[in-house]
Structures are given as structure tokens and as C-alpha cells.
Symmetry: C2
Subunit: 587 residues, 2 copies
């Protein structure tokens, strides 16, 4: 057992030097500035008090630095996971209650435990259940829902809803109560952030600012918006004129919290915790892998599960909320020159200082500003081009993507992702449930066999040779039964069926049962079943089965051997009974 594998911090800490320290510190300052408004905003999106977002950006970062394998990933609250948190916790208790806060902690703890256990059991492959079109569709739909859910803050009205339709109907019904000063602030920030994204960086570049600083300055636009609108609200007393503000936020380091252990609550939140874990893991791993590859580094997905899991456990013990590796912040961290996870730990210190010292200053921060920040951030997640691209490339993948989008928008986030996963699995099973197979005949004068429908080959009415081009397992076992029995029903004079198995790498228990059923049914129909070209490992397993003893026919090394023997052109030395093969395995 290699401790460096399970404690990745040991890989970089011993060689940590002054140059790396300087790079990491600089990156930490830049990420901290970016993270403050983002953390406040995502806490609000999850329906939690703003300080929870800050708390969730402290301890998890330190823990990830110990257990995570990505050198540059920045963990913390992210948009999609915050939306999923709001959806899950909202079913337990109303926002603003202690129960709501407590349920968010339980969700973070459960998600942390699930991720850690998956990592220890090396179950990272489970993330493969989420195909790219499903993830892409889910993120697009989530982005639309998040944007719609924040519009009320920009308009300064009350409205609620769990899906896009409800949200839009709620907004339409409350347009009469729009607060003009709130709308002015919200729209100004929206326009400013959009303009900064669109024109600031090119403008700075043209003004001679190098690429990276220009990028950093652009990414700092939200903090500028926060500062200006907070000052304006305070200076002009806008909060008295109907502009909702964050209000008093307790100053200080994160509290120690112990999530509740109510089994009813745990079982209610289990599915949500599982989905949040998997979605968060997939997002985090994609970001981590992309960044690692740029420097020819590697991340270990199973250890990443442990890193994210322990980070979430840390979040749950320090008054936080579910966290994962975020795309935007990790890219900023990387571009700012972070070299080790120590940058994350320094960021945690920065956020900690903010939590202690800056919270009194944000009492006048308008909620509309945070909402506008969120809207601009999530609309960049909406990828309509991906929908078009998927339609053009594959109708099946498109169907899975569309189902995910529609169900997410119309029903909700959990149902949406489950619909997508269910449909992509069903489509995959459908594709592989009809494996390619071909009746083959002999190329005259040779030992080669080819598809009878494509080539002019020699056949025999008493003998059918079926070449199966895929491993046999439960999804296609029944199809094999159908194919063979149809063959037998079609050719009345048939005496022998040979399955040519050169492409069969695995025969699972379902396929074995099917072979037994085929053998028994062919026996009733007075047709014998033979095998040819069975691979070594497959034959090893078959030898200890009832099928091997009950098989009416023989096992041949090659299809040509079967052809010769079953047409009576050989002396019987080319075949063996399956049950007699124990001592002499095939190649």
C-alpha cells in the first residue's frame, strides 16, 4: 500500500519551495476575490444564508488539498449542485427555517459519505452511467431554470416555483409589483457583467494589456459590481426604497456543526444525495482532467472521489453546503498560475479573513446584484449548439438529451437526470441487444467462411453455420435464441447448427441459460448444436457447466473442421465432445 496514493499531499508537500509558494499565493489572492461574490450568490441560489457559501469555501478547500489529486481544482459551491440542493432540501422544510439549514448539512454529509465510500470501493466507473449528451442537456436545462429562478430578484418581486413553467407563470403574475430601484440595479449589473464578458477582455488586449492579466481583470468584474452597488445602496439609502439587501451577516470563522442523524430524513434525502454526488463528481473530474492534461499531469478518479467526499464531510461539519470542483474558479486558479493544492488552502485563508472582516460591509449588498451575477454565469452553461450537434450526429443520443432537458424543465432536476440515464441505458441495451450475426458458407475451394448474403459461397441444406459477432450476455441472449430458432424453423431439412464463436469474449450466466434452452429446443426439433472456434477462457468456463454435458453436438477447433466432419468428409477425429475437453483445452 502506497501512502502517496491515498494521501496525495505527500506527493508535493515535501518538495514545496519558495517559487511555488509565490505562484500559489498570487493565484489564491485572485481566486479569493472571484470566490467571495460567487460563494454568496450560490448560497442564495441554494436558499441558504449568504455566510453558508463562505463557510463552504473554507474547510473543504483545505481538506481537498490533502486528499485531492488535481493540482489546480478549486472546490466550493457551484451553480448546478446548489440548484439540486435547493430542490432536495426544499421538499423537507421551507427556506429560512433551522430545519432547512439542517437538511442542507445532512445532504452535504451524505453526499460526502457516498463519494468517499465510492472512492474506497473504487466505484468511479459508476459516473459512466451519465453519458455526455445527458450531462450536457442537464446542465443546459439547469442553467435555464437557475436563470429563471433569479429573475424575481432582479425584478424585486415575490415568486416561486419548482420548474420552468411555474417560475415563468409566477413571474408573469407578479409583474405589477416590480421595484424600480431594484430593477435599475439588477439590469445595470446584468448589462455591466455581460459587457465585461463580451468586450472588456478584447478591449484590454487592444489597449496593450497582456492576455492573462486581461483575463483576470475580466473575471474580477463581479467583485466590482458588488462593491459599486453596495456603496450605492448604502449611500442613497436604497434599501429603504424597496431594494432587498443581504442584511446582517454574522462575522467570524465557520461554526462547528453536527448534522442530524434522523433516519427518516436520511432516507428522504438519499436519492438526492446520490444524484448530487454523481453530478458533482462528473463535473469535477471533467474539469480536473482537462486542466491536468494541459500540464501533462494525471488525476486519479477514484482518489478524486475520496477528495471530494472528504471535502463535503468537512463542509457538513463547518456549517457549509454540498460542494464540488467548479469550472470557472478552477480555470481562474489554473490561469493565475496555481501549481499545487496549497493555492486552495491559501484561498481558504483568504475567504476565512473575508468571513471575519468583510461580512459587516456586505449588509447593504443588493440581492439583485447577486442574482445578476448568477444569471450571467449560468447562461454561459446553456449550450444550444450542443443540442443541434447531437441531433446531427446521432438520433439516439439526441433523444436521451432531449428527454433530460424536457423532464428537467417540466418536472424537476432529479427526475430529469434519471430520465436521461434511464433512456441512454435503454438505448444502449437496444443497440447491443441485436448483435450482428451472419449465416456463413464456405468460399469454394478454401478453408474460409463468409456471409451467405454477401458472397457466393457453398452451403449445405443439412448444416447451418451462424457466426456471432459479439460477446453473449443478458441483453442479447434472447436475441440469440430467436435467431437460432428462426434459422431452425426456416430450414426444414436441417440436422446441424454450428455457432462460430471467434468474436465471443464472454458468455454470461444468462447467455449460458440461453445456450441450454437452444440446445434443448433444437434437441426437441432433432437438430444438433455444435460450437466452433471457442476462445480459451470461454471454453474453460463452459467445461464445468451442465450445458457442456447436455450439448447434443460437438466442439470444433475451426469452422472448417466442423464443415468437413458434419458433412461426413472426415474420419471423426476433428471434433470432441464438450465434456471430454477438460484435459485438452483449446487454444
Amino acid at each position: 500500500m502506497n501512502p502517496k496514493r491515498y494521501l496525495p499531499i505527500l506527493q508535493w508537500l515535501p518538495g514545496y519551495g519558495r517559487a511555488t509558494l509565490t505562484s500559489d499565493l498570487l493565484a489564491a489572492v485572485i481566486v479569493t476575490v472571484m470566490l467571495i461574490p460567487q460563494s454568496l450568490a450560490y448560497a442564495m441560489l441554494a436558499g441558504l444564508p449568504p455566510e453558508v457559501g463562505l463557510y463552504a469555501s473554507i474547510a473543504p478547500l483545505v481538506i481537498y488539498a490533502v486528499f485531492g489529486t488535481s493540482r489546480t481544482l478549486a472546490v466550493g459551491p457551484v451553480a448546478v449542485v446548489s440548484l439540486m440542493t435547493a430542490a432536495a432540501v426544499g421538499q423537507i422544510a421551507p427556506q429560512g427555517t433551522p430545519e432547512y439549514l439542517g437538511a442542507a448539512l445532512v445532504l452535504a454529509l451524505m453526499s460526502g459519505l457516498i463519494l468517499t465510500l465510492m472512492g474506497v470501493a473504487r466505484l468511479g466507473f459508476l459516473a459512466n452511467f451519465l453519458s455526455h449528451p445527458v450531462i450536457s442537456g442537464f446542465i443546459t436545462a439547469s442553467g435555464l431554470i437557475i436563470a429563471a429562478s433569479q429573475l424575481k430578484h432582479v425584478l424585486g418581486v415575490e415568486a416561486s416555483g419548482h420548474n420552468l413553467l411555474e417560475l415563468l407563470v409566477g413571474l408573469a403574475g407578479s409583474l405589477g409589483q416590480v421595484s424600480a430601484p431594484t430593477l435599475v440595479i439588477g439590469l445595470s449589473v446584468l448589462v455591466f457583467l455581460y459587457a465585461a464578458r463580451r468586450w472588456l477582455k478584447p478591449g484590454l488586449r487592444r489597449a496593450g494589456v497582456p492576455d492573462r492579466p486581461a483575463d483576470m481583470l475580466t473575471k474580477a468584474a463581479p467583485i466590482l459590481a458588488v462593491a459599486v452597488t453596495t456603496l450605492a445602496t448604502w449611500g442613497f439609502g436604497l434599501d429603504a426604497q424597496g431594494v432587498a439587501v443581504v442584511g446582517s451577516v454574522p462575522a467570524g470563522l465557520p461554526p462547528l456543526t453536527l448534522p442530524g442523524f434522523d433516519s427518516g430524513l436520511w432516507s428522504q434525502l438519499f436519492v438526492a444525495a446520490l444524484l448530487i454526488s454523481i453530478v458533482g463528481f462528473v463535473e469535477s473530474v471533467s474539469v480536473g482532467q482537462t486542466l491536468a492534461a494541459k500540464r501533462r499531469q494525471r488525476i486519479d478518479p477514484d482518489q478524486e472521489l475520496v477528495g471530494l467526499g472528504t471535502s463535503n464531510i468537512a463542509a457538513s461539519l463547518t456549517g457549509g453546503m454540498p460542494v464540488t470542483g467548479g469550472f470557472a474558479r478552477s480555470v481562474v486558479n489554473f490561469d493565475a498560475g496555481a501549481e499545487t493544492p496549497a493555492a486552495g488552502a491559501f484561498t481558504a485563508v483568504g475567504i476565512g479573513v473575508a468571513a471575519m472582516l468583510l461580512t459587516p460591509l456586505i449588509a447593504y449588498l443588493p440581492i439583485a446584484t447577486l442574482a445578476a451575477t448568477i444569471i450571467v454565469a449560468v447562461l454561459s452553461l446553456v449550450d444550444l449548439a450542443a443540442i443541434k450537434r447531437t441531433w446531427a450526429y446521432s438520433r439516439g443520443d439526441f433523444a436521451a438529451m432531449l428527454a433530460t432537458i424536457i423532464v428537467t424543465l417540466v418536472v424537476g432536476v432529479e427526475s430529469g437526470i434519471m430520465a436521461g440515464v434511464g433512456l441512454s441505458l435503454a438505448l444502449h441495451l437496444y443497440r447491443t441487444s441485436r448483435p450482428h450475426s451472419a449465416v456463413v458458407g464456405r468460399v469454394p475451394g478454401s478453408e474460409h467462411f463468409r456471409n451467405v448474403q454477401r458472397h457466393d459461397v457453398e452451403t449445405d441444406d443439412r448444416l447451418a453455420i451462424l457466426r456471432v459477432d459479439e460477446s453473449l450476455y443478458f441483453a442479447n441472449a434472447r436475441y440469440l435464441e430467436d435467431t437460432v430458432m428462426e434459422l431452425a424453423a426456416r430450414q426444414p431439412g436441417l440436422e446441424h447448427i454450428v455457432l462460430a464463436c471467434q468474436a465471443v469474449n464472454v458468455i454470461d450466466a444468462s447467455a449460458l441459460e440461453s445456450l441450454e434452452a437452444i440446445n434443448a429446443r433444437l434437441k426437441d426439433a432433432e437438430v444438433r448444436l455444435h460450437l466452433a472456434e471457442v476462445k480459451g477462457p470461454v471454453m474453460d468456463r463452459l467445461q464445468h457447466t451442465d450445458f457442456c454435458h447436455e450439448m447434443t453436438g460437438q466442439v470444433f477447433l475451426s469452422t472448417y473442421d466442423a464443415w468437413q466432419e458434419l458433412r461426413g468428409e472426415s474420419d471423426g477425429s476433428l471434433s470432441r465432445r464438450c465434456a471430454e475437453l477438460q484435459m485438452a483445452p483449446l487454444r
Copy 2:
């Protein structure tokens, strides 16, 4: 559109003659005799009044004769589906209430609609989700639960429970109230039926009775037990001494019933209806296929869905319960010489006559007799040898089977089957998520390439050739990314990576995204990505993608072409840019 395909009755009715009529009539008489006690018993198992079992054996049989494709399948209430019905309906209302009865009708209707729609949409392949080990484990566990649930009737005590543990605890707690006369009747029937199964047929054979009549007589043992115990109870007035009896059963043909359309009830029952549909379909199709094969006939699984679906709809409209093709009764029907589904229609007439005339006679039928009939029938479903066999053959399949058994016994039937399906899918994805791939090198002096780990081959530090031995789709897309990036990270001087795709039949949208990610990451790492031996249909799709335009490398007809060109041993004529291939597709 061929009407014979959608109305299979047209295939046999026009040629129906006197000889077939005689065979079918004889089979119908035998099946009717067998079906009367079975229908009463399975209705009781489902928690429904006994006449419901008879009703469910009338209209569905007639409808199946019109729409079903098996010549000999006998539909009606079966043990496992009855158990699932009891579990589902028991969550809606207590047994004996009109709501319970109504929910059973809704369940039959929903199951019928689901099956019919699946048939029309040709979704029979969905049954492939249920692997053989999962079905086998589920049926074994169901058999144990059913047997345990019937023990209370044999003992004459009150007890209830939804899983094996609860059932056994309930029984143990009520042993003090055992009714002696009930126990005597129950045990006698158990012993008699067991003995009949075990010794009657061999005994009759030794006494010179031919095989088939001997079998028929054995199968008629339950009706004898019913007759004798009913007479005894009536004669000795045992019902006054604590023997529970069926009581008065209304005489007459099935009533016309209209299941309720309460959306709350429908959504509560949906999952149960879906599972009942799929389990029933799988059971029915296995029986149908086995019997069809014996006479070299075929059944059409998608049309079978329609046949079973319309049968269930008929059951729901005539006071019945969910039905499917049963194993025991279909075998009896087949062995008794049934030649067409007309035998089923004649059986329906027989059961109809019984419902009109015999119901007054069964008022004194002891419930213990029915319970004993069920126990002997379902214990034959318990297949412990299959568990051992699966363990020996495949640990993965065994895990899925064991999970199904344990969850079914401990939690319940629906959870059990879902656990099994979930685990077998997960195991399948796990298997295929790590496809075989090999770094290959050139066999010196040849154009062949082999695995570098197994053969002594020529390699080049600037060039890595990876042969992928499986289609690329969402479950293995991430693994491909890992494999390629690990290769790039391991070989520092690398300039080119070639993916040799001779075994790749499909690249789905997820795998395409992975190829794009691989291409982009390799570009960051200054390694070019090339493809070789791409199959025609795969290349056709790739040509219209962004990947094709962004690919840093080339497309080669053969691996050897790539080897020559990338080592600078050729004049550049062997490769083409992906985007230039539109006009000249590869083979």
C-alpha cells in the same frame, strides 16, 4: 401491413377442422379441471375473493386466442404475479375492502395498457433488462415468501407480514392458536399432493398407464384434494370447529367492471404495474418459446406483448386480476394435445360453466386446502441448485442473483427485482467500461502490428499506436480518455498517437466528445492524434463533426500506412485530413 401479423387468429382459424377441434376440446377439459383450484388459490394469494380468480380465467383466455401468437400458451392468474399484485394493492387499501378490489382492477388495466403499448412500440427488448440470474433469484425468493405467507392458512392462525422475516415472526407468535382440524386438513393435503407429485406418476407408469395419461392424472391431484376436503368439511361440519372455508361465492358469469381513473391511484400503482408487466411477459415468453420450439413453431415477442396486454385489459373489464401465461397450465395444455388457441377459448367456456354451476359447491372448501395447493406448486419454483450453479459459473451474475433474493426476502418483491436489475446493469457497464485495448508495434519486416506486451515488436519513441478492441460508447468513453492520456503522460518524447479502430463498430456522441477532449488535450501537450482503419459507416458520421475539422492529425487506411508516414518513410500520399475525406470515403 399484414393483418395476420396483428391478428394471429387469422393464421389458424380459416383452416380449423374436425381433428383439431377434437384435440383442442380434450385439452380444454383437462386444463379446466386443473385450473379451477389454481384460479381460486391464486386469487386468495392476491388477497382477492376466490371468484375473481375464475373471472380472470375466462375473458383473458378468449382475447389471447385472438391476439396471442403461441398456439399452446394458457393465460390466467399465476403465483408470482399474484404475489406482486398483493404487495402492490396492499399498499393502497386493506384486504376485503372495495378499494382493494378496485385497485386490483386498475392494476390489471394499467399492466394491460403498458404491455399493449410496449407491443405496439415494439419494445419487447426491454425484457432484456431482466437477466436470467435475476429472474431465477426473484422466482426462488417469491416462492419462499409465497409458501411462508400460506403457512398461516395451513395452521389456521392469523398472521401477516410483507417480507419473510415478518411472516415468520408473525407465525411464531401465533403458534398457540393453531386450529387442530385445520392443521390436519392442511397437512394431509400437503402430504397427498407431495406424494402425488413424487410417486403417483412413476407408480401409474409401473402399473402400465402410458406416460401422458399418467401425467394428466398426476396433475389432476389438486382437484381430488379439493373435492375430498370439501366433502369432509361439509359432512363432519368442520367449519363449525374452526376450519376456515371459502364461504359463499356468487354464482354467475363475470360482471362487467370499469376500473377507476383516479390519477393519484394510477401514479401510485405505476411502478408496480410496470414490474408486473415485465415479469409476467418474461415468464410468459419463456414458456411460449419453449413450447413453440418443441413443434418447430415460432412466437413473435412483440405481438405476444399485445396478446398479454389485451388479455389483461379484458381481465380488468370483467372483474378479474392481472394475468399472464403460466408455466404449469401451459405445459398441461400442450401435453394434453392442444393444437390452437381455440383450446384456451374452450377452457374459458369450461371455467365459465364452473363459475355458474360449481360455485355453490365450494362454499365448504377449506382455505387450508387451497393454501396447501399453493405451497406445493410454488416450492417447485424454488431452485437452490441454480444458485450454486451461478456461483460456480460467474461471481458477477451470482452477486446480482443474491442481491435479488436477499432484497426480495428482506424488503419486498418490487425492491428485490429493482435491486437485481440495477446491479446487473452496473456489472455489465463495469465489464464493458474497461474495454480491451493494446499498444501495438510492428512485427519486424511485415505490415502486421501486435501487442507490445506479448510480442517482440518494433516501436518508435515518437509514435504510439493504440488498438481499441470494442465499440466506443458512453460507458467506456472516459476509460479511453484515461488510457490515451496515461499513454501520453508516460512517454515524454511522444509526438503522435494513432488510434487503430478496426474493432470499432459505433462511436456514440459521448465517445465523440471524448475524442474531441483527447484531441484538445493532446494538442495542449503537443501530441497529434491520428486515426487508422476506421470502418466506413463510422467514418461517414465522423465527417460531419467538429472533431473532424479540429483533429490535429490524419486518417490512414491502414496502421502500416500510419507507421510509414509518421516515421517519415513515405512521401505523404498515404494520409488524408479528416475534413478532406468527404469525397473519398474509406472502405
